[in-house]
Subunit: 308 residues, 2 copies
């Protein structure tokens, strides 16, 4: 088992139900009750050169933008409104342009920070022996209707996804806009049972939502919306567009569980510019199944980015 998953399981068992925690450890973000002060949603993500980006290929501005965006995607997955973020940097020792690097990272965060109302309010800078490492903690105000959780999908719920999936490495993973506005708009007008963001691949993240909710899934895989980048990348060989949509990851779209009566209303309204697609249903049977357009049924292949 990968260290991250095993560690998370340990954390959830050892620390999961601490007083003041409104959402157990293991969701996209933590929700702190804050006494009578209205609650706070907190998420942290650390990005490391060579794992989440490459300083040789990506500009400091692109890297900074991504570091903020992945955290805002976690807030979106909880239907939280961003209020601010702090940034910690470890800059690589012996690099002559560390100051330009640090400034570029922060400048790269700025447009997204302004667009989604999440000012950078503080930080910490260090020089270490390792690769460039960026840790962003983003803070949000929870929805007055309660935070979205990944553990509340119910049998019979429809599985909905925003936007299109796959091929993110072609550029989307650096340029995506986290679905903050979409989440807030959906939360205001519709009853969403469960949500998470798709960061490690649709099939893997869907399996996590199913496990957390104690349900299974029946995915109509031919309805999964491929990104054009998934088709382009597939034309270069390797996995096909469906495999890419199921397993590439870093889509940062929303994965939603919506009641079977609410879902048709939502889809008919079509309230999001990025689109919403019904790709199947959550089932009482806890297996993870895939159905082709021709009716062929088989196990859903679980692929995606497994943290090591």
């Amino acid at each position: 088992m990968a260290v991250e998953s095993e560690f998370l399981d340990w954390l959830a068992n050892r620390w999961g139900d601490r007083p003041g925690l409104e959402v157990p450890v293991g969701d996209d973000a933590a929700v702190l009750a804050m006494g009578g002060l209205g609650g706070l949603v907190v998420t942290v993500d650390m990005l490391i050169d060579g794992v989440h980006f490459r300083t040789g290929e990506h500009t400091p501005e692109q890297i900074g933008r991504k570091a903020l965006a992945v955290n805002l995607s976690d807030l979106a997955a909880m239907a939280a409104r961003p209020v601010g973020a702090v940034v910690a940097l470890s800059l690589p020792r012996g690099t002559s342009n560390n100051l330009a690097l640090a400034k570029g990272i922060i400048e790269g965060m700025n447009p997204l920070s302004l667009e989604l109302g999440c000012p950078i309010i503080g930080g910490d800078t260090n020089v270490g022996e390792g690769p460039l490492t960026i840790s962003v903690t983003a803070l949000g105000v929870p929805s007055p209707r309660g935070s979205w959780m990944r553990s509340r999908a119910r049998p019979g719920d429809r599985i909905l996804v925003t936007g299109t999936l796959g091929g993110s490495l072609a550029g989307h993973h650096l340029s995506f806009t986290p679905r903050v506005r979409e989440a807030l708009a959906l939360d205001e007008r519709y009853r969403i049972h469960a949500a998470m963001d798709i960061s490690d691949g649709l099939s893997l993240d869907l399996s996590r939502m199913a496990k957390a909710s104690g349900v299974g899934v029946l995915v109509d895989v031919d309805r999964v919306p491929w990104a054009s980048a998934a088709i382009e990348m597939a034309s270069g060989g390797g996995p096909g567009p469906l495999e890419r949509a199921l397993g590439d990851g870093e889509d940062f779209e929303l994965l939603l569980a919506v009641g079977s009566e609410e879902a048709p209303r939502l889809l008919a309204d079509n309230p999001l510019e990025c689109g919403l697609t019904d790709i199947g249903e959550f089932t009482a049977d806890t297996r993870l199944m895939a159905r082709r357009a021709n009716g062929e049924l088989g196990p859903l292949p679980i692929t995606g980015y497994l943290h090591n």
Copy 2:
């Protein structure tokens, strides 16, 4: 100029007075207004193997404890009450005991977390090419009387320090209890003009408080309370105990500016078990001066840990 200082100056100019920020960038922690929700104090500190600790010498539990403690010290410096913290880890790739390492770090945080009411509410774990890196973001509720800032020392204010200083590397830097309870007790009963924690050395941190406040200092250096560790370390050669008290750093004691009428009352009350010492005064003259017990006057030597 060191990268960190230059970057901080740039940040303060470029980002210092963002809407919603109650305390400008550059203080021990950021204070977010949060609309009508009562405000939030946020601080982040990143610790890196080889810079802030050594995995060869220190246990995972010691390292985890320190990573939380330095952040709680920043909350104490603002008179904030801790409410929770999140932890991001970069574990070194190719190490066989990464899971034990991650668990040990979190276990090491637990006693302090319980003692000072700061539960670990979430985190992120990664494996990277670099050394063990820990980023902790701690959250606090601001004092109802307003957050302490380092920029509000006034000419005539007395300079007070908690505890004793110097020789922290002998063990104090791993075992200290951040002055959270002391800060809350002082804030409740006394009017503190300005505060910060002593992390980089008394003289360096004092020079920062003076600069932020637009004042100078006259330090009665022979009154500076040495730690017994400073004497022991000095007996092994190198800097003397006074030099160690002025410049060793990692004391994590509180440095306070208190009005000249309030200070004697506070010192007579002697409300803290760790002790409080008057070591001089803030001056309208912006020079940083040292006075010996024999009346000899000279510039205060500014030594301490300069981040590179």
